[in-house]
Symmetry: D2
Subunit: 359 residues, 4 copies
Amino acid sequence: MFNSFGHLFRFTTWGESHGPAIGCVVDGVPPGIKLSEADIQPWLDRRKPGQSKFTTQRKEEDKVEILSGVFEGLTTGTPISLIIHNMDARSKSYDDIKDKYRPAHADYTYDQKYGIRDYRGGGRASARETAMRVAAGAIARKILGKKVVIRAALVQMGEHAINRKNWDWKEINTNPFFCPDAQAAALWEKYLGGIRKAGSSVGAVIEVMAEGIPAGLGEPVYSKLDSDLAAAMMSINAVKGVEIGAGFASAAMRGEQNADVMRMKGNKVTFDTNHAGGILGGISSGQPVVVRFAVKPTSSVLIPIPTVDVHGKNTEIITKGRHDPCVGIRAVPVGEAMMACVLADHLLLQRARVPGFKL
Amino acid sequence: MFNSFGHLFRFTTWGESHGPAIGCVVDGVPPGIKLSEADIQPWLDRRKPGQSKFTTQRKEEDKVEILSGVFEGLTTGTPISLIIHNMDARSKSYDDIKDKYRPAHADYTYDQKYGIRDYRGGGRASARETAMRVAAGAIARKILGKKVVIRAALVQMGEHAINRKNWDWKEINTNPFFCPDAQAAALWEKYLGGIRKAGSSVGAVIEVMAEGIPAGLGEPVYSKLDSDLAAAMMSINAVKGVEIGAGFASAAMRGEQNADVMRMKGNKVTFDTNHAGGILGGISSGQPVVVRFAVKPTSSVLIPIPTVDVHGKNTEIITKGRHDPCVGIRAVPVGEAMMACVLADHLLLQRARVPGFKL
Amino acid sequence: MFNSFGHLFRFTTWGESHGPAIGCVVDGVPPGIKLSEADIQPWLDRRKPGQSKFTTQRKEEDKVEILSGVFEGLTTGTPISLIIHNMDARSKSYDDIKDKYRPAHADYTYDQKYGIRDYRGGGRASARETAMRVAAGAIARKILGKKVVIRAALVQMGEHAINRKNWDWKEINTNPFFCPDAQAAALWEKYLGGIRKAGSSVGAVIEVMAEGIPAGLGEPVYSKLDSDLAAAMMSINAVKGVEIGAGFASAAMRGEQNADVMRMKGNKVTFDTNHAGGILGGISSGQPVVVRFAVKPTSSVLIPIPTVDVHGKNTEIITKGRHDPCVGIRAVPVGEAMMACVLADHLLLQRARVPGFKL
Amino acid sequence: MFNSFGHLFRFTTWGESHGPAIGCVVDGVPPGIKLSEADIQPWLDRRKPGQSKFTTQRKEEDKVEILSGVFEGLTTGTPISLIIHNMDARSKSYDDIKDKYRPAHADYTYDQKYGIRDYRGGGRASARETAMRVAAGAIARKILGKKVVIRAALVQMGEHAINRKNWDWKEINTNPFFCPDAQAAALWEKYLGGIRKAGSSVGAVIEVMAEGIPAGLGEPVYSKLDSDLAAAMMSINAVKGVEIGAGFASAAMRGEQNADVMRMKGNKVTFDTNHAGGILGGISSGQPVVVRFAVKPTSSVLIPIPTVDVHGKNTEIITKGRHDPCVGIRAVPVGEAMMACVLADHLLLQRARVPGFKL
C-alpha cells in the first residue's frame, strides 16, 4: 500500500532503476476519456534525461506503453497499466557503490530498513521512479480538462533566485532550466556550467501553480488540499521543504498584512493578494493554487566525500556515474504531475459529496 | 475517512468548537500498555488556552475522559475513545461572523465546499480540533516508550528568530513561548506585548525534534517518513510550510557541502552533520528527526479588514472574540504530538515487515 | 483502522459491552441532509433488547445522542459523532466467565491475540457493538433517500424455514421474529418457547432486500458490491455464511437455468428471475439486491458445556447471564443497516466517477 | 483503489482478457525471501485452461515474468511487478457478444456503470483476472512458509456432492476436478461429459482449508478474519455464496451442539469439533481455517437464451467461444490463493501489534 498515491484517483508505481522496466497502474480514472500514448509521451519527454548538458547523460527513450484500461481510444474505468522498458542501464558504472554508502543517498537507510538493497543506480530509490509520476500526471490532466492550467518553474538555483518582476511563463520553454526569468536563465547557464565542470552539484526551488481550480476542493482535516500537496511534493526524491502561498515568509507577517482582502467584482468574490496560495482551511478558494518545494543538491559528485562501507570501515567515495548537476531541473515536470494528481483526486472526492459539482 | 490520520496507529477526530464536545477514537494501539487519563492530561495542559496573556483567554479545562479500550489500567488492543466536553463556548461573541467571511479563515471555503457551515467559533475549522491530536499524541508516546524523546520549540516569532547558539532545552518551560533561547524569550515578551495591545497578530516557526529513533522507519515511496510528517504538520491549522533538516536552505547548498559525512565510531555509524534531518530516501537514518513548520498569523485581529459577506456585499470585519496574538505558541505541543503519531505508526509498520524490529 | 467500515461513507465504532458508553463516528456524510436523533432512534428501538421474552432481558434504553456534525438540523459534511451511554451493565453476572473460556465465543481467541481481554459481557466482542451499526445505517438511509427501500426478514429459525409463498412484508412487524410468514411465526413461537425453557439456543437465516437501487453500483474487482456486502454481513457477530441471490443453490443449477433472462418492457430492461440477487460482475443490475446470512446459535446456554479455563485446566461452564435464545432475531435490523451502509458508500463512489449519476 | 486487495500485503491487478497482457503489483512483501518465477509458475499451471476436456480450450501458456522487487534471487521489500502476456486472444470468436448482453454476465452492468465496455472475452470481468490472484497467492505462500498448508477441493458439482467419508487429499491431483473423493470423481467424469456435450454448464462448491495457522490472526471488528475471507472469496468471478466452518448448517443447530467443546491435551488447548471453521470472534483459534464457496454455472452455453441487445431490442444469444462446462474447477486454485493472501496479510498485521508473534 505504500507504493500507491491518492484516494480515488490512485496510482501505484513499481520498478528499479536498472531492472527490466518501470511502470505504474492508474486506478480510478473515469470512463469515456480519450487517451492514448500520445497524451502521455510529451510530458515524459519534458522530464527525459540527456536533453541538455545540464541533466544526466543517461540515454533513455522513456517510451511509454498502455497495457490496459483503454478500449478503442477511450478509458473504460478499469485500471490503466503503463510500462516503460529500461534501455540504457549500464550496471557497470555503479559497481563502486555496491559496498560504499553514498552520503545523502538512501543506500544506508535501505540496508538498515530491509537488510538488502538493489544497489544498481539507486534501485527503487532512483529518481527514475518519478517518470511514472509524470505519466500518471498526464492522465490526471485529462481528467481535469483544459480549463485547468498547471505549470511549474524553477525559481531558485543554488543561491540565485529569479527576479519575480521578470516572470514570463513563455520563457520556461526557451531555456534548459524551466526558468521564467530570461536574465536569471542567462546567469544560471554560466553558473551551472561552472558547477558541472567542478564535478559539483547544487539545489533548487520549484514553484508549481494551478489555475482554473474552483473553490471547494480539499478534505478537512486530514486530507486538506495543502496536506495532500505537502505529502505529494515531499515524496519526490531529494525534496526537503514544501510551502503553500507565502509559506515560511508568512511567519514574519502580521495578521492584517497576511490576510488576503476579499472584494466583490460584479457578483464574483475576488482577493487582492494570494498569500494563502489558493487554500484556506485546507480547501481551495478559487485563487491559483501555489506550491513551492526545495530540492537538495545530489551528493553524487566527483569530489571525494568521506563515508563508511557495508563492512563498517571508514572510506571515501567519488560517484562517477552520469548525474545531474542540478536535479531540481528535472523535478519541475514531476512537481506539475503531482499537483495534477492531487487535484484530479480531490475533484473526484468533491463530486462524490456534491452531485452537481463541476470544474 | 478524511478525519482520520495514520496507517496502523490511526486516530479519527470529531467535533466543533462550540458543539457539546470534541473527541477522537484511537485505533491500532497495541495491547498491554499502561494507560490512564493521567498519561494524557499533562500534554493537554501544555496546549491549554489561557495560560498566559499571550494565548486566547477562552477558559477551557480540557479535561479528557477515556471511554473505551482500557481495562484494569491496560490497553486491550481495541479502539480507545477519548472525549472532552466543551465548557466555555460563548456563542454570542461569534454572532458577528455569521454573515461575514473572515479573510484568511476557512469561512468562505467551507461555505463554497459544503454550502453550509457551523460559524460558531470556526466550527470544525477551529484550532480546538488540535486538542485531540495532542491526546492521540500522548498515547503514541506510550507506544514509543521512554527511549524516544520528542520535543519542540518556537524558533521564530514574527521577524525575530532565536540565536541557535543559545539553544537550551531547559529554557522552553521557563517562558510562555516554548522558546529555547532565554534572550529571544525576553525580547519576544515585549514584542508580542506590543502586538497584542495593537490588536494585531504575528506568525511563527516551530521546530520539532525526535531523538532515539533507530534507522529503518519510513515506507518508500508514498509514505516516506518525511512525506507523512509533511502531511501531518501541514494538516495543522494555519501551517503554510514544512521542512526537514536543512530544508529550504539546502537549495542554496553544494552537494559536497549538504552531504552529511558518515564515519564509524567504534562499530557505530555516525554523521558529522544533520542536514538531512535524520531522513534519507524517506527512511530514518538513526540521527535525530528534525522538522520545522511555519504558522501564519491569525487574521482574527482588532484592526478592521475589508471583506465580503454571505450576501455578496463588500464590508469590513473586526474579529472581537478571544484570540491568540501568536497562534504559533500553542502549535508547539501539537507539532510534538503529530511527530509522535507518525513515528508510532511507522514503528508498527516496520514491525510488521521485520519481525525482530525494536526501538 | 480495523474498527472502521466503508470507503467514502465510513464509520468507526468503539466501546465495550460494560464500559461507560459505546459510540461511532460517521465520516463522509454529504452536507445539507436533515438529521436529528429522531431519525436514528426508531431504528435502534427495533434492535433494542428486552422487547419480547425471546430476546435478552438486559434493559438498555439505547438512547442515542448526536455530538457533532449537525448544525441547525442539517448535516455539515463534518464527522457525526454518536454516543449511547451504557445503563444496565451488571458486571456481577459475568464474574463466572472471567476465568473460563466460553466455547464458541471469542474469549479464548481475544486472549490469544491480545494477551488481555475485557471479560465483562464479552467486552468488545459483544453484540452490543451492533447498536452503532444500526445508528450508522440510519444515516445511510438518509443519504439513499426514500426511493430506496431496505427491509429484512428472518426466513429460517433452527430447522424451520418459512414457506416463501406466504411471504408478506406487512407481517414482519406483527410478530416478535421479523417473520414474513404468519404460519411460520406461529410455529416459531412455540418452538422458540421450548428452546428458551430448555435453556438452549438456536440459529437462524436472515434475508435482506434493497429495492430502488439502479444499475451501476459496485467497484470491480475488489470492492464488488457483493464482495463488500459479504464482508459487511460476515463482520456481524455470530454470522457464519453469506449468499447473494440464489447463493449456494446456484451450485446445483445448469447455466441456462440460472441465467436471469433479460427482456425489454417498453424501453426498460427487465429480468424474468433474480437468481443473481441483483448483482452481475459485482455491479448492481437494477433488480432488487438480495443477501442472505446465517447466524449460529449462541453457545451461552444453561446447559453445562465442557471447556477449559485460563489456567489450562479442564472444566465446564453454564452461561447464566441474560441472553437470546435466538440471536438471529436481533440481527435483522443489523443486516438492514449494513446493507444501507454499503449502498450509500457505493452511491458516493459512483457519483465520483459519473458526475451526473442519480438514484 | 478498487483493483487492490489487502491491508499490508496488498496486490493490485490490471488487464483485460484480450488486451496485450495482464499483471499485478504485489506490495508489502517482507525483504529477504527467496523468490523466482519458479515459485509462482507451478501454481499458475494448476489453474491453466485447456488441461482437460473439462476446462476451456483457450490455449494460454500463462508464463509469468517478475519485473521488479527481486534482486539476486531475494525479495527487497519493494513492489513486485508480475506480468503475463496474452497469447491466444482470438478476438473474432467474441464478435457476436459486442451487441448482445449475455444473461448472468457482467456485459449489461458494465455498460450501465461505465457507459463503455471492452466486450472482447469479457474484458476486465473475465475470469482471466484470477490468474494474477494465483500469482499473488504464490508469493503469499512464501511469506507464510512451509508450516502452513493451504489446500482446496471441489466438494460439490451440480447436484452431486462428495461423500465426506471418502475424503483423501491425495486424490485431488489424480482427477481433473480437484475432487478428494475417488468415487465422486468417477461419477462426475460421466456427469460433466454429458453436460459438456449438451452445450450446458453446471455450478460447484469449493472447500478451502488452511492448516498450521496459530490462534490470534484477524482484526475485530471490520477486518475479522472471516470478514476478509468472505470478501476475498466473493470477489472471485461467479461466486454467489461463502461460508465458514459449519456455515449455513449452523442455522439449524442448537447452541450446545454447535459449540466446539474445548479440552486440554497436555498443555495444549484442543477442540472436539470444528463447527467454527477455526475462527471465533473474527480471530483464528488455532484449528484449521475452513471456508466454502459456491460458484454459479457460467451462462456461456450453446443453448439459446433470450436476452436484449445494446439497442434495446429483444433477441437471443448462443455463446460459442471456448468455455468451461464447470468454471468451479478452475476456481479451486484461485480459492487457495485468496486464502493465502488473506492469511499472509493478517500475519503481517498481527506482527505489527505483537512484536514477538510467530507462526
